[in-house]
């Protein structure tokens, strides 16, 4: 049991931290890392692409990829340290994040040599943006019930259907897409995994505006879209297995990393903010709530590290990711709720105010935190996964 860095790891941490200190531009830092949008607008996107290129030039993109594919062959522990430092520095999520973290490892495991050659270098360099075409309307958490059809037309597939909740599709050059290629087969055995050029005729992207006004997600429509056969990843009709690789990397990366920063700011505010007793910190129930959140933030952090240790010891990412997803997203909600208890109406203003200069941040949290317990598998689905796959309870 050792929570401290080994000397080599400490050195790696120091190296990356120093590099970030020297190179991260102040104007692209973010207050809210939980808000993992590709970018709110084209201009921000361009700045973040430039940032990815700068990182790439210094060899800091895709560090856990094998050296032969342009990575550093970093150990899992190094990746963990990398992530910790990256979020601590308040650096924005890279525009290529989903490709780097999800698609890249999937292609390395399942892709053809040609696919690897074509895509992996551009993913790292930030030359092309990707979106993830998995979710469908009507499927909810039951991903494998997807209905977007791919019909075999000899040298290509013809794709028709609709995806939803597609992050960043409006900026994307490519899409990694799940389609039903055999409608007769049992539902997990008729799925294929395709790479689709978003410029192909027949693709329409329509933004899905969130209740907070954010335009991050999209609906994507496919109408007679031609996808060359060489863009099939893994075996035909067995794309579910390929998707599992992607999903495992997705779950193990799920949110909650900046809870500590949010909470630290709330504790500061509690010491300044007026209340019935002044400051609010003098109220025992405010201290109790802050302390409880601090405890939960620490618990989440250590539970995550324990899971990482299991992976360090060679176990693959597994359903314990659901614990982090469930608890982390519920905690995000509770932090947002507490900001409202502490700040009252100030947490509903989308502008700086004299008493709470960062009122808008809490306004965004209050509106935005609801999505974390839904997106990426609702809390109800996470509880099913924990109940069934971790505890072994029977399916309902």
């Amino acid at each position: 049991m050792d929570f401290a860095d080994s000397p080599e790891h400490a050195a790696f941490r120091a190296e990356f931290r120093a590099w970030l200190d020297a190179n991260l531009p102040g104007d692209i830092k973010v207050d809210d890392a939980a808000d993992q949008r590709v970018a709110p607008d084209r201009e921000t996107l361009e700045r973040r692409i430039a940032w990815q290129k700068k990182m790439h030039a210094a060899g800091w993109v895709g560090i856990s990829w094998p050296r032969e594919y342009g990575g550093r062959g970093a150990s899992f522990m190094q990746q963990v340290i990398f992530d910790e430092e990256y979020f601590r520095a308040r650096a924005p999520v890279l525009p290529g994040a989903s490709a780097i973290n999800l698609l890249g490892p999937t292609l390395i495991q399942w892709g053809t040599e040609a696919q690897k050659q074509r895509h992996l270098p551009r993913i790292l360099a930030g030359d092309e943006r990707w979106c993830q075409g998995f979710s469908e309307p009507g499927a909810g958490g039951d991903l494998a019930s997807l209905r977007t059809r791919a019909v075999d037309r000899g040298d290509h597939f013809l794709v028709n259907g609709q995806k939803v909740w597609t992050s960043g599709a409006h900026f994307a050059d490519w899409c990694f897409l799940l389609v039903r290629s055999d409608p007769e087969a049992p539902k997990h055995h008729g799925i294929s995994y395709l790479l689709v050029d978003m410029k192909t005729p027949g693709i329409t992207v329509r933004p899905l505006v969130l209740l907070n006004g954010h335009r991050h997600f999209n609906e994507v429509f496919f109408e007679d879209v031609v996808v060359p056969k060489e863009n099939l990843v893994g075996p035909l009709n067995e794309g579910w297995k390929v998707a599992i690789t992607t999903l495992m990397f997705e779950r193990s990366g799920a949110g909650g990393r900046d809870h500590a920063a949010q909470l630290a700011r709330l504790a500061e505010l509690a010491k300044e903010f007026p209340s019935r007793q002044e400051p609010a910190w003098n109220d025992g129930h405010i201290r109790q709530q802050l302390a409880q959140l601090a405890i939960d933030v620490k618990a989440l952090q250590v539970t995550r590290l324990r899971g990482l240790t299991r992976r360090l010891r060679g176990e693959p990412p597994g359903p314990e990711g659901s614990i982090l997803k469930l608890f982390g997203s519920e905690l995000a909600l509770r932090i947002a709720d507490f900001s409202s208890t502490l700040l009252g109406p100030y947490a509903t203003v989308e502008a700086p105010t004299e008493a709470v200069p960062d009122a808008a941040r809490w306004h965004h949290r209050v509106l935005g935190a609801r999505q974390y317990t839904i997106a990426g598998g609702t809390s109800e689905i996470q509880r099913n996964i924990i109940g069934e796959r971790v505890l072994g309870l029977p399916k309902g």
Partner: protein, 379 residues
């Protein structure tokens, strides 16, 4: 004992529901909330024609003289449709303060036009150091030869930008208690020295403003009620408005539950309607329990306030504490059970969620009112 609504009240409910279903669709709400007025002239005139803009004022003042329990019925229905615009600020705050504290001349001047839909009102009482009791009123009123000069700022004032007449609470002296020394003033639109700006707050259907007073001058005739003694009428107005808000929150929450249940019956996942899963069903049941309890406390508070029972302030504090927690929970769970679609701008739940959040913290959140309950429990 008979804890239900009368036939007249049920009739009012039915009328209100039909009217609002027809005239206050979510399309209307979305269209209007994008404007500064947040209602149309036509709609406002219709409210007047229904008699709702004067519902709680005495008949002598152009109102219909109904009680808080009657108002509860109307507020529930307005909540169901997230009715936009300055009804609350005009009728239940600004107008109610004039009704409560005004001289007969002041009442005659303002209440009939308000009831007729010809004037709008607002009540400026809260300030940047947000407190919902008398200690929160610190804006200084300096007595001058001809009257008073007010300087300072009021925050989170509902619909001040629309008000033809604004009631402003200020401190005219440091009394022996916090309650002593609060005075109400009447400020007609365009009073020099008063600046109003709309804040970008979460619920666009009801705007909140900042009101800045920079040596604004008020003649003695602008006094509303007695000098230094404004807290008593003000707190009466606020208590009534708080209970009315609770009722609106209950109505809105009931609508969220109805929408959620409807959706849960139709939406299929893993081969079954999601409402058949206990994970959804039990949360819906908890929503119902929370709503029923908040309704119970709201009805009780409305009755107690109407009758002037001793425990009316306690009942009102209990109702708001319960309604605030309930509103957050119900709106949040409603979105949760709708899943992704519930998070979108397109879905009407966002309107209810944002209204619920704004109402949760208005007039004090659950924490504020629990503390008040504790103080009132402990003589």
């Amino acid at each position: 004992m008979d804890i239900g609504f009368s036939e007249e009240q049920e009739l009012l409910r039915e009328t209100a529901r039909k009217f609002l279903e027809a005239e206050c669709s979510s399309g209307f709400v979305r269209e209007r909330m994008a404007t500064a007025e947040a209602v149309t002239h036509t709609f406002w005139r219709q409210l007047a024609e229904q008699g709702w803009l004067g519902i709680v004022y005495p008949e002598a003042d152009g109102g219909s003289g109904l009680g808080l329990v009657d108002l509860v019925v109307l507020m529930e229905e307005m909540g169901r449709r997230v009715m936009p615009g300055p009804f609350f600020s005009t009728v239940l705050l600004g107008g109610a303060a004039i009704a409560e504290a005004g001289s007969s001349a002041q009442r005659r001047e303002w209440l009939p036009p308000i009831a007729a839909g010809a004037a709008k009102a607002a009540l400026a009482w809260t300030e940047p150091a947000l407190r919902w009791d008398a200690a929160g009123i610190t804006l200084a009123a300096r007595e001058t030869a001809g009257g008073f000069t007010l300087s300072g700022s009021k925050l989170f004032v509902g619909d001040a930008h629309l008000a033809d007449i604004m009631v402003i609470a200020a401190r005219t002296r440091d009394g022996t208690t916090m309650e002593d020394g609060v005075t109400l003033f009447l400020a007609p639109k365009d009073t020099p020295g008063i600046g109003v700006s709309v804040l970008p707050t979460i619920d666009e259907t009801r705007k909140l403003c900042e009101v800045r007073l920079d040596r604004a001058e008020f003649p003695a005739s602008a006094l509303l009620g007695e000098l230094h003694q404004g807290w008593t009428p003000l707190s009466r107005v606020v208590t009534r408005a708080t209970v009315a808000l609770c009722a609106e929150m209950c109505g809105a929450a009931q609508q969220v539950l109805d929408m959620t249940v409807e959706y849960a019956k139709l939406r299929v996942a893993f081969g079954r309607p999601i409402g058949s899963y206990q994970g959804v069903k039990h949360q819906a049941a908890d929503m119902l329990v929370a709503i029923e309890n908040a309704k119970s406390l709201t009805y009780y508070a409305a009755w107690a306030v109407d009758r002037g029972e001793d425990e009316a302030p306690l009942a009102a504090a209990m109702a708001k504490a319960a309604a605030s927690d309930m509103a957050r929970r119900v709106a949040g769970t409603g979105i949760q059970l709708h899943g992704g679609i519930g998070m979108t701008w397109e879905h009407d739940l966002q309107l209810y969620f944002k209204r619920a959040k704004a109402s949760e913290v208005a007039f004090g959140d659950a924490t504020w009112h629990r503390e008040r309950v504790a103080q009132l429990m402990s003589p």
